[in-house]
């Protein structure tokens, strides 16, 4: 059997979930989630703690079994074809601890490599050097940052078509973060990879990410490409009368009044022309409109999700 197989997936998303729902006891962790991650996308999954980001990733690996709905990775059902699906995935879990902490780094790498026929030993060696891994050290003696770097090597060395990164920079110091993200960017430039990443540091991956999904208490409240974000979420600078209130149909999220009291700044969600028209009809004068950063957009969409019933 060959280590790799070319497959035509025209029109098939790299990751798709269909009304995926998951419960932990009585608590609903995921509620009818319909994710669509196009092949080659770098998809950031944003959400507050406990919103269900890790649960989505665990469902894709079939680590958590949904009570309703299903999921596919490159068109393969994650339950019926679990082993094949997991062969396509490089996974960095939220936790730094490893079950096989009694092995040293070299032994763990050797163990994991035997399960991936596509494991690239030369590349693993390059990654070990880049991430400064000491092969002879026991895994359970590593610091958070060192453990995270080892997890990166384990996830990247078989050049998986899909990376699931759950808070990947958590535990890394600022320097290590920037080095890690540079290595990740280099990896993505070399190997065609789809990435699904959850992070609280969206600003760090501003230049990498091209899709954003927002989870709010288990519900996917928004899912947009970077281009869609550019046309949907904007920062407005307004001149407003003294007793002005934002129109109720407009979702004003972070309105801030300037010192003079007549100038307002805020992020609005909606088509720019529509928002502009509604603001004007309410008595406000639009002075400036600008695009927002991914982090700002994620915050806006999160707030928006919270304000909705």
């Amino acid at each position: 059997m060959s280590h790799q197989e070319e497959r035509d997936i025209t029109g098939v998303p790299a990751v798709a979930t269909f009304a995926l729902s998951l419960r932990y006891g009585k608590q609903l962790a995921l509620n009818n989630v319909d994710l669509r991650i196009p092949e080659g996308a770098i998809y950031v999954l944003a959400g507050t703690n406990g919103a269900g980001k890790s649960s989505v990733m665990k469902s894709l690996l079939n680590l958590e079994r949904p009570h309703a709905g299903c999921a596919e990775v490159f068109g393969l059902d994650t339950v019926a074809r679990g082993p094949e699906v997991r062969a396509q995935i490089g996974y960095i879990p939220e936790s730094h601890a490893h079950d096989y902490g009694w092995l040293n780094c070299g032994q763990l790498l050797q163990h994991v490599s035997s399960f991936y026929p596509a494991w690239d030993h030369a590349y693993a060696e390059t990654l070990n050097k880049a991430f400064d891994i000491t092969l002879g050290r026991r895994v359970d003696t590593l610091s958070k940052g060192e453990a995270r770097r080892l997890q990166f090597v384990l996830a990247l060395a078989h050049r998986p078509p899909l990376l699931l990164l759950d808070e990947p920079t958590d535990g890394l110091d600022p320097l290590a973060r920037s080095r890690t993200l540079a290595i990740l960017a280099e990896h993505l430039a070399d190997a065609p990879t789809t990435v699904m990443m959850s992070t609280h540091h969206i600003g760090e991956i501003e230049s990498l990410a091209d899709h954003l999904g927002v989870l709010q208490t288990g519900k996917l409240v928004a899912q947009l490409s970077r281009d869609e974000l550019r046309t949907t979420v904007h920062r407005f600078v307004l001149d407003v009368p003294e007793d002005w209130n934002a129109p109720t149909e407009l979702r004003s999220l972070d309105l801030r009044r300037s010192r003079t009291g007549r100038e307002l700044q805020g992020t609005f969600i909606g088509k720019q022309a529509d928002v502009r028209a509604r603001l004007s009809s309410s008595g406000a004068t639009v002075r400036d409109v600008s695009a927002v950063t991914l982090e700002h957009a994620a915050l806006a969409l999160l707030n928006d999700g919270e304000s909705r019933p």
Binding site: M1, E6, E39, R86, W102, L103
Partner: protein
């Protein structure tokens, strides 16, 4: 658009790797086993020197070895969190297959320990100059395998196997105490066991059993236990299967 999909590993690779990693995880147990053998060798060596070694080889009680086989799976699986989203389940292998592979790997090392033990005992019996040393027969290997499988099944199939083990032991002790306490009167146990139909059935079975050749008397219960062991592991594996729904 074309995407290059990766293959999952073949079963032979998985088996080989599990045998290797289980060996690595059992180093502590292997050292303890070697230490026990060394101590026993020294003690028996002294006994041989004084001509009292026969005491060591006339025992017919293999309960201790059976107990070791039963609890050995706890050593094999102690690093894995079976009922949680653990590292083991992120591997690109069919979960039931992965579980069988690791049970097999544990069995391989249990059998290695068993063979070493038999060889050790054989060597000591030769040294002692005893004519007919008590050496474990072939079917003892089957019995040990059966108990190992049973222990594996219990460990893999239950969320709290230790509680079940202790609970079962507690129930057995309670039953034993109850039996002793009720022995003086015509209690339910006695009434049940002394019914004529049951008594004659037991007698018929005993006489048929005694007509069997000696090897069959030993082999049949071991094979039955083996089947029970396999079924227990299979049932346990189904709890972890990829396609098991909530």
């Amino acid at each position: 658009m074309n995407v290059t999909l990766h293959a999952a590993p073949i079963l032979r690779t998985v088996l080989r790797e599990q045998v290797r990693i289980v060996a690595r995880s059992l180093i502590r147990e292997a050292r303890a086993f070697a230490a026990v053998l060394a101590i026993v060798a020294v003690v028996i060596g002294v006994e041989i020197f004084y001509g009292r070694a026969a005491l060591w080889f006339d025992s017919d009680d293999w309960a201790a070895i059976g107990l070791v086989a039963l609890v050995f799976p706890f050593s094999v699986w102690r690093r894995d969190r079976l009922f949680m989203p653990a590292f083991l389940w992120t591997l690109p292998v069919n979960r039931a297959q992965l579980l069988y592979a690791k049970v097999f790997a544990g069995w391989v090392w249990l059998m290695v320990a068993f063979i070493v033990f038999v060889a050790f005992q054989f060597a000591l019996s030769l040294l002692s100059g005893l004519a007919s040393p008590q050496i474990i027969s072939f079917d003892a290997g089957i019995g040990i395998t059966a108990l190992y499988l049973l222990g594996s099944g219990i460990l893999l199939g239950l969320r709290h196997p230790l509680r079940w083990f202790l609970g079962a032991a507690g129930v057995l002790i309670m039953l034993g105490l109850l039996e002793r306490g009720l022995a003086s009167g015509p209690w339910a146990f006695e009434i049940f066991f002394e019914t004529p139909q049951l008594k004659s059935a037991v007698e018929r079975f005993t006489s048929a059993w005694q007509r069997l050749p000696r090897f069959a008397q030993s082999l049949i219960p071991n094979l039955l236990m083996l089947v029970v062991g396999f079924l227990t592991v299979r049932t346990a594996a189904s709890r972890h299967a990829d396609n098991r729904r909530r």
